[in-house]
């Protein structure tokens, strides 16, 4: 059959194209613009080529921050994904407790980042915070402002408290969509609880877990507000993540060129890792491409 092409449809896409251009492409191009030029003020710019990129990629400061980011994201994913799935598995599937659980789970998600940061900053203080005071009285030396490990633990706990719910809600949505017949068949086949999870629940949750992993990776990799509110990147440089370093460089030191180059590298890393997750998770367990015609 002849396929008719109607290019008029492209006109209908134009408004979206303009919106995306204004919200994403144009700002991004500004950054690209800064990253390849140098300025000495007066709005005068000189071509710098790839110099800023080379500078960023050769600075130990960048790798320090990148390493911290990767470690942070890895810890967050390793805690939140299994924890989120286990909570979702224990949540009721029907009855009046369903809405109660869902609302309780959704609550932390509604709180803005800086508020979460402030809550935990106060909560953890040894003089006025409930947590800090209790720990101090138990004889545990906890001080996020002095001790790098304490600062990390605080930020991680904060993030787990804030975002595990997202993984729970996504996993739960995946779980309740599994038809009852699967569980019945598994019982008849004599499958253990673990096998039901491994061969029914986990594969059926694959799609939503992919979304959960991507969202949690991107968010945690771009962490900014919580460490900024808690210690401003300290103690020392212990919680100076890429984002915090970037803001210091761009607004503190006003090094627009290197900051722009770093932004682009940062962006590409997020994109690359997300792509890697996506590819691995969608191809996991998939068949090798089949030869011949499928009927």
């Amino acid at each position: 059959m002849e396929k008719t092409f109607n290019n008029k449809a492209w006109f209908l896409v134009l408004p979206v194209f303009f919106l995306v251009a204004i919200s994403a492409i144009i700002p991004l191009m500004t950054v690209v613009n800064y990253s390849v030029q140098d300025t000495f003020g007066n709005n005068q710019f000189f071509w710098a080529g790839t110099e800023w990129f080379r500078e960023v990629l050769h600075s130990s400061r960048f790798y320090d921050a990148l390493l911290k980011n990767l470690a942070f994201s890895a810890i967050i994913l390793l805690i939140q994904i299994p924890l989120g799935i286990s909570i979702a598995l224990t949540m009721p599937k029907k009855g009046i407790w369903v809405p109660v659980c869902l609302v309780l789970m959704a609550l932390p998600l509604l709180i803005p980042w800086n508020v979460v940061g402030t809550i935990w900053q106060v909560f953890g203080r040894a003089d006025i915070g409930l947590l800090g005071y209790t720990l101090a009285n138990l004889g545990i030396d906890y001080n996020y402002a002095n001790n790098a490990v304490d600062a990390w633990i605080t930020i991680i706990v904060m993030d787990v408290w804030h975002w595990t719910s997202l993984v729970v809600l996504l996993s739960y949505a995946g779980l309740v969509s599994i038809p009852e017949a699967y569980y019945q068949a598994a019982r008849i086949d004599g499958a253990s609880r673990w096998k039901v999870f491994r061969y029914i629940q986990l594969p059926k949750m694959n799609r939503v877990l992919l979304i959960a992993v991507l969202l949690r990776f991107m968010d945690s990799f771009m962490v900014y507000t919580e460490p900024f509110v808690l210690t401003g990147g300290g103690p020392g440089n212990s919680t100076t993540f890429l984002s915090i370093d970037l803001v210091k460089m761009a607004i503190g030191q006003f090094d627009l060129g290197p900051a722009a180059a770093m932004s682009i590298i940062y962006f590409l890393i997020v994109l690359l890792v997300s792509w890697a997750f996506y590819t691995v998770m969608t191809n996991y367990d998939a068949d090798a491409p089949e030869k011949g015609v499928q009927d």
Binding site: A181, G190, P203, A286, D287
Partner: protein, 357 residues
């Protein structure tokens, strides 16, 4: 393999059922033979799936017992009953290969590796899935997936019965016939007791040795396809089985005569005086139309040409009477209907009256 005994079995989804109407499954007593192929036939909501779930152990009945051979299994969980079930929608383990799917119930039962391999390869051959043994099960077509669900039951040598819950619902029409033939073949080969739930009479009549017709939570008749056709025990059976269904007309009964409005029809048997609602049932296949003055006059309302025969829809003093006539025969201008008296059944309150002499 087992004989299945249903003993005073009844089920209600309510915690404290009061009246008969609260029961999704009304009390039944039956023995199903070892190795038989039974079909549970009935419209949606008649309790057939409830009965199936009680047999498989997914549901514990409110009353009564269920026995496999002499063992009471009423309180046993499905995994301890040694039954297999094929569901309406194919249930397969997506991430496993076809062969792994078939091996799954054996692996769970800790069967020796060498025996698993042997039985799985046997089963792959029987199901004609050998060429796909190592591909992932998720890529298969619906009928292949249903074959795998069935195969997971057949690989086990300990199954008492195989249960089917409308297994052909999602199968393409041209594959249905093939899969049904396969089922018959497997039944002959393995001689498992098979119970097949469906609302499709063709499926039920072609699959089963005995059809269990259910209506509003009650088993109204258990019989061979011939019995269901010739002697429907309940007007519902007459209406549900056959296409078109049996004609059911209200009548007055006087010994060996039935009065349909102002017309009198001779019956083959004489009946005692009966109270309750009396109905006369006759299959459209045994109603002939012609000019015979002995026949009762009817008004034709529609003629449907099915191809091999015609269905003539008529009215007999306000009551519908269908007739099936051969393809070549034309409908007379003022037709009179002759009812084959040896094929007339009499019903009291919807149940067949057998005491005629």
């Amino acid at each position: 393999m087992a004989k299945i005994t249903l003993e005073n079995l009844a089920h209600s989804y309510m915690p404290f059922p009061k009246s008969d109407a609260d029961f999704a499954l009304k009390e039944i007593n039956h023995v199903w033979d070892d190795g038989g192929a039974y079909a549970l036939l009935g419209p949606s909501g008649c309790g057939k799936t409830t009965l199936l779930n009680i047999i498989s152990g997914l549901l514990v009945p409110s009353k009564g017992n269920i026995l496999f051979n002499e063992q009471n299994v009423t309180q046993l969980q499905p995994q301890h009953r040694d039954i297999a079930q094929v569901f309406q929608f194919p249930v397969i383990y997506d991430t496993m290969t076809v062969a792994e799917n078939l091996a799954f119930p054996l692996v769970n039962r800790k069967v020796a590796k060498s025996e698993i391999d042997q039985r799985v390869s046997e089963m792959l051959e029987i199901l004609e899935l050998g060429s796909k043994a190592n591909s992932k099960a998720r890529g298969l077509t619906a009928d292949e997936k249903q074959k795998i669900s069935l195969g997971r039951g057949l690989v086990r040598h300990d199954v008492n019965a195989i249960l089917f819950d409308e297994p052909l619902t999602v199968i393409d029409p041209h594959m249905k016939w093939q899969l049904r033939t396969k089922l018959k073949e497997l039944h002959r080969q393995f001689e498992h007791t098979m119970i097949y739930v469906t609302h499709d009479q063709t499926e039920a009549l072609t699959f089963a040795d005995k059809v269990v017709v259910m209506y509003e939570g009650e088993v109204v008749q258990i019989g061979t396809p011939e019995e269901l056709f010739d002697e429907p025990a309940h007007t519902f059976v007459g209406y549900f089985i056959g296409s078109p269904g049996m004609n059911v007309l209200t009548a007055d009964l006087q010994k060996n005569q039935a009065k349909l409005g102002s017309h009198v029809i001779e019956l083959g048997k004489s009946y005692p005086d009966l109270d309750g609602t009396i109905e006369l049932g006759i299959r459209p296949e045994f109603v002939s139309l012609g000019n015979d003055p002995l026949g009762v006059p009817v008004q034709v309302t529609a003629v449907e040409d099915i191809g091999r025969y015609k269905i003539v829809r008529t009215q007999l003093e306000g009551q519908a009477l269908d007739a099936v006539i051969p393809e070549g025969q034309s409908v007379p201008a003022e037709p009179r209907a002759i009812l084959d008296k040896s094929r007339i059944n009499i019903y009291r309150d919807s149940h067949l009256v057998r005491e005629g002499v």
